[in-house]
Amino acid sequence: MNRRSREADRGARPPMVAAGVRALTGSADVVALFVMLAFGVLYLALALRMPFGTLQAPATGLFPRVIAVLILVATGLSLFFRLVRHKLVSAPVDDEDPAEREFGEAFWRVPALIACLVLYVGLAPWLGHIISSSLVSFLVLLMLNQRARWQMAALSIAFGFATYGLFHTLLNVPLPTGVWRP
């Protein structure tokens, strides 16, 4: 069995995983709203520490307080309609793809890609752009697992040099050189 058919075979989720994903998809909006509520409270607490001034002479803290109230009211009403009135958001948001609401079967790749990006941020100042980006590209290709390792390595190195050429040479962007300073 080759790599591609192994990938295809992994397309169907085990029942427990499928149930977990369904639960996650169904509750994501509620979790997000509670997080926003907590954010609103925190934002208000920080805004209250800023001077409000007066309505005749507003100071730094006026607008943040208005925003905090907006967030708390909007989030509170959203939670009310969602939990108490059980009104699910069934209509898709117009510029969004409805399919994006559901968590995909390879959801683990999302935190993996984020970790790769964080790795770049951590490594680039030390190892420079070419090595860091090549390493990160390799990890991304490895994660997506659609070709042989040697192809991944070759592509990664090519991307590292290509992006260096594009940004540093062509566009004069000073990319991190790390320890490889001349």
Binding site: E7, A8, T25, A28, D29, A32, M36, G40, T54, L55, Q56, P58, T60, F63, P64, V66, I67, L70, I71, A74, T75, L77, S78, F81, K87, V89, P92, V93, D94, D95, D97, E100, R101, F103, G104, E105, A106, R109, V110, L113, L117, V118, Y120, V121, A124, P125, H129, L141, L144, N145, R147, L155, S156, F159, T163, L166, F167, V173, L175, P176
Partner: protein
Amino acid sequence: MNDLLLGFQFVAQPAALAAVVLGVVVGSMVGVLPGIGPLGAMAILLPFSFTLDPAAGILMLAGIYFGAMYGGSTSSILMRVPGEASSVVTSLDGYEMTKQGRAGAALAVSAIGSFIAGTLAIVALMLVAPTLSDFATRFAAPEYLALAVFALFVLSRLTGGSFWRAMTAAGLGLALATVGLDEVTGNERFTFGGGDLILGVNITALAVGLYGVAEILFMIERRGKLPRLAKVRFRELYPTRREMRRAVPAMFRGGAIGFLLGLTPGPSGVLSTYASYWLERRISKHKDAFGKGAIEGVAGPEAANNGASGGAMIPLLVLGIPFAAPTALLLGGFTVHNIIPGPLLISQQPTLFWALIAGMYVANAMLLILNLPLVGLFVQLLRVPRDVLVSFIVLIAVLGTFATRNSMFDVIVLIVMGVLGYLMAKSGLPRATLILAFIIGPLIESSLTQTLLLAGGDLTYIFSRPIATTFLVLTLAALVVPPIVKLALPSKPPQEADAAAGRESRSAR
């Protein structure tokens, strides 16, 4: 006319022309890529325009804007994979035409329709802008406050999901805009002791993260393969005379609908495509052909989409207020180039304004001249393996963001915004409202502060200003009328409602 000719003279310079052409081609190429879409394309390509001088930079931005908007329709027609919501309607009949071996004709009609509508929209912009701009010079802080509130509330109402969730997203966008230095007093806010947060949240990092990185995350969490690609030969690009006879009137109708809707806040691109499709189906003598490859079903919506793109430039350029996510991104780009659109742009920087108008004409013409012969190249782009695409685009997104301020902190913000954009889509919070609120947040705050200062703390002062009051009344109407209408209309029985929803979602697929 003289000003327009001077604008064309400016655009005819090699550097300026190259910027427009490059913007159109690259915008189309990235907009074509399924999973990225026009908004993702604009976000990812924004940083490249910053490497040019301001005039060339905004011409490139205009090229990217039109190119990316057009590019989304190519994958829609060839693979039934719309780049964004405004290309969904095109896929209904466009893909059917592809199955009948008429992909070239569909692409050609899409390009011609986009060109006609775009040109008409730019002519209208040229005619309307100076008068509207004179009118807008009467705007002071209260009028800008009312207009910005109108834009934000009406967009939140029209996003299609829950209004209160949209306002939650708007609140988050406004909150992000307050990080850094207060523009009015110069004091620090939410900087937690200084450091990189003093500079505030970078618009590029926010936009590229929210749309670019988030779209990549959506792409990688699914294992599915892209559908098979139709072959398109250059010689098959020409529609027949019969097809053009049916398509051309639809193009003009769609362009007009799109332009008018583009003047209003909200997802005008999406709304205009649905409105145009509905109209064409109503008046067509070939009603049965719709959904099976009716050329009006491609020509009308595509023209409407481009007409809306042109119409949306009017509030952006003349009032300085974006009414939708794409123009919010454009305004972010203008701001980085230190160009502030608004009523004073025409009077204080006429060369720049007319150069931009001329650049839009050229970009529109380039869409037609270049994109038809290059359709073979675009088709090849659609064959790029997904893993190569993801890996390369991620690097481009990171470096493009880094390049704006040479700051690794911006890359951190990019990552955070990417995660935020991903989670927002999962939880039904609209990203468009967040980005619009982020962009116009500083305007709302400065207008609110100045209004309070003018009014001596009495906010009812705003009602003594007729223009501001009009905007506030329109805002109230937009908020209150739809729920009242919904309550007043008889509700469908559940089975009927479900069947209707099922028919709608099948036809949207």
